[in-house]
Assembly symmetry: C2
Homo-oligomer: 219 residues x 2
DNA sequence: GTCGCTAACTTTACGACGCTAACTTGGTGA
DNA sequence: TCACCAAGTTAGCGTCGTAAAGTTAGCGAC
């Protein structure tokens, strides 16, 4: 792997006050977040680069984070703090359950594309490492889990309103989620592909989905 | 990163004959493929581990491959050589364009799940590194590109038969592809998640898609 | 038959990486 | 003022990808 290009070393940081160890912790998170966005690839953000950016030596990082993964994941968690809120807000703009659901989907996609590396780390790497959407795991999964729970709710509302055929809301939510994830992840990873306009593609996917879930027209 | 656990060192390999340098090349590919399947993670397959498995020193690898990425990608290409064929065969089992398309989709998903790390490397990592689905790039993209082209054809047949509303076949194919990719990639990455039965989920996604693409029932 | 060429390797080593263990420093409460 | 300990640093281990230079063995030419 190519070594991370050296960059902006901060001046040596003065030591924190007695109870203020967490100040460094916050600075480390901030620097990591910045580097992750700048370099766009977790592998190019080394512990040494982070330490350098903060103005501290590499081992100091380990006073505040168990290992590199823990640091990276915590940054991604922070980034995803507004994940569910964004979708709730977008959905709240519509009264119609179907339009609301679509708006939620568009917000999901927008968020992923706006935070591609965080999205990739949380949803596109082997989960033993990073996320455990299943069990009552750490906060990591929280944004994802509540966002999914809210999709389930939204689906239920669509069923109640008659826009969707009655069915297992979780199962239907998974059908929708995997669809949204599919576009986001391919748009993130296959940048070289001659994609059509993103908005058009996403809208069409959402339309296809909701039409496919509508009650049978026949008797 | 955890170091790759040492494993099965092969005895020192005897040097190849004068014109037979490619024998080693083939052995390297084979060993890499095996290690990639065994360890299930590209990062746990080091050049040294491959060299060890073949019974040769690490730098010898570079006589046959430009760098680690080139080696890994070539292995994935090999793995994906049957990707499109599998789908063509599955699709050929049905006369009905719609059933044929669904069978194609199931084959896509099956292949991805059967070769998770290869799928992850080719379709779930930043493409500057690995694949260039766009331009008349290397063979890498070939399996993916022809598979997509065949989805386009299948979509066109569905439109011709009246099963799908007439539309831009490429755009519709992308809607289908991203959907398939979504399930595959999440099933690969989020193993901890309490997924419903895979077959059921995939079938429902396919049903939702084809229903959503059917011509409007009204006049 | 032996000489030289070159394909097919090996040896050695560099710099970056994640991470650990042991040491230092400076502010603070007693 | 002095001992304590939070908040760091220094030094270093083992691994990684890979470059550069050295070695060896088979083969054609004479």
């Amino acid at each position: 792997m190519t070594p991370s290009t050296a960059a902006s070393a901060a001046p040596r940081r003065s030591r924190a006050r007695r109870g203020d160890g967490d100040l460094l912790r916050a600075e480390i998170l901030e620097a990591t977040r910045r580097l992750l966005v700048e370099r766009g690839d977790e592998e190019l953000v080394s512990i040494r680069a982070v330490a350098d950016a903060v103005g501290v030596t590499a081992p100091s990082i380990y006073l505040h984070f168990a290992d590199k993964d823990a640091l990276i994941v915590e940054v991604c968690e922070e980034t995803f703090r507004t994940f569910d809120d964004d979708q709730e807000q977008a959905a709240a703009a519509y009264d119609d359950p179907l339009e609301s659901l679509k708006a939620r989907g568009r917000a999901y996609v927008s968020f992923g594309l706006a935070n591609p590396e965080a999205y990739r780390i949380l949803f596109m790497t082997r989960s033993e490492r990073v996320i455990d959407l299943a069990g009552g795991s750490p906060a990591t999964a929280l944004a994802g889990v509540t966002a999914l729970a809210h999709i389930v709710d939204a689906v239920r509302r669509c069923m109640d309103s008659g826009a969707f055929a009655t069915d297992d809301p979780m199962l239907v939510a998974l059908q929708l989620w995997t669809g949204l994830h599919g576009v986001v992840s391919l748009l993130i990873c296959e940048r070289g592909f001659p994609w059509p306009d993103r908005g058009v593609l996403v809208d069409r996917i959402l339309d296809m989905q909701v039409r496919g879930l509508a009650p049978s027209s026949g008797p």
